[in-house]
């Protein structure tokens, strides 16, 4: 097998986020660089979504396992903090997968800026009935990256992958 960057990229496309398994780490945009010195040695540079994201260690382990399974002898995972991750790096494909999974995908980061107090992100679409008549229940949800919303039409509460 020829271990080109493209090949590595497709392998990483199979590594999923342990907390939102419908998303791969490529969909999330947390893989910042792939440095492949030869067919056996590779360094993957990743960045955390949130400072306290507890999934990072599991993700690093999963990347290593996936690449070692595929024949790499030496796999190094390096963490970088800059530039800081933003939901704008999430792929369109990732956003569509989230929606199908029942989590409203993040809006453009600009929708978060300059919010007044008690003002919430508007027009978040309910992943069940697609109504935009929804309201924020809590800015903090079941994981660091999510907020809790409720649909005022079908009444279902749902997670929103909040802008970051």
């Amino acid at each position: 097998m020829i271990n080109t960057k493209e090949n590595i990229r497709s392998l990483l496309q199979q590594v999923c986020d342990p907390e939102i398994p419908v998303l791969t780490i490529m969909d999330l945009g947390i893989v910042r660089e792939i440095i492949c010195t030869n067919d056996n040695v590779v360094e993957i540079i990743i960045t955390p979504t949130y400072s306290g994201c507890p999934a990072m260690d599991a993700i690093a382990f999963d990347i290593k396992m996936k690449l070692i399974e595929s024949g790499f002898k030496k796999v190094t995972i390096t963490y970088t903090l800059s530039p800081a991750w933003t939901t704008d790096w999430m792929s369109e494909e990732g956003k569509n997968k989230l929606k199908k999974y029942g989590i409203a995908p993040p809006q453009n980061i600009s929708s978060r800026l300059n919010k007044l107090l008690f003002e919430e992100e508007k027009n978040i679409e309910c992943p069940q009935c697609h109504s935009t008549n929804t309201k924020l229940l809590s800015q903090f949800g079941s994981t660091a990256c999510k907020a809790l919303y409720q649909c005022m039409d079908c009444k279902e509460p749902f997670d929103y992958f909040k802008c970051h």
Partner: protein, 263 residues
Amino acid sequence: MNTNQPINQSTGSPITLLTNQLINQTLHLADTALILGQRNGEWCAHGPILEQDIAITNITLDLIGQARNFYQYAATLINESENKNETEDSLAYLRNERDFKNLLICELPNGDWAQTILRQFLFSVYQELVLEKLKNSSNEQLAAIAAKSLKETQYHVKWSSEWVIRLGDGTAESRDRMIKAIDTLWMYTGEFFIAANYELTEVHLLKETWLQKVRSIFEEATLTVPENIFMQSGGKSGIHTEHLGFILADMQILQRTYPGAEW
């Protein structure tokens, strides 16, 4: 010659003041985030309602994550300059009370929900200003951690501001509790703006902006900013209240009893 100059134990050469200053600055930021995180974590499963229990513990998770980034950097600096083998864990779990440089307000007991909210608000507004400055630091790693943390802190500021308004301008009971919280906590905000000898940020320059922001939220919450009261300081230089020892006992006992224990 300054006899307090730290020495590299293996080479015997003095550690440059700049490195030492940077290590202490980084530990101050790490300790502050860790101790507040540890305190807020006490709310886990005890919050007034489920959504707010989740909110305060999410904020805790952000703070612990920030602390980890600062400790990892501090460990790198210490190991490079002093030839030691520190890790984020050894710095958090094996240092003594007098070595901790956290702000005093972070170690105070949670009190009721009003007191927890008010502390988060006073602190987050301050932390946002500090991180804004650090983001432009010439030190790349501190700048990177600050830029990352800032995005999280902005959510903390918004959430805690809304709660200060909700409680201050709420019922007679919630307002009364907010006033009591101000009486308890205000005296610990003075040291925010007194620079320790290691601090890279000119924190005294942040005071007016901080006060302006706090005042605007207090006005909306129908609360009053105290004037001319005694201010307690000491945390930045390791002089703590009686509360820190108890937190450390709680937090460190496992690593001190079973060194190196892992999940």
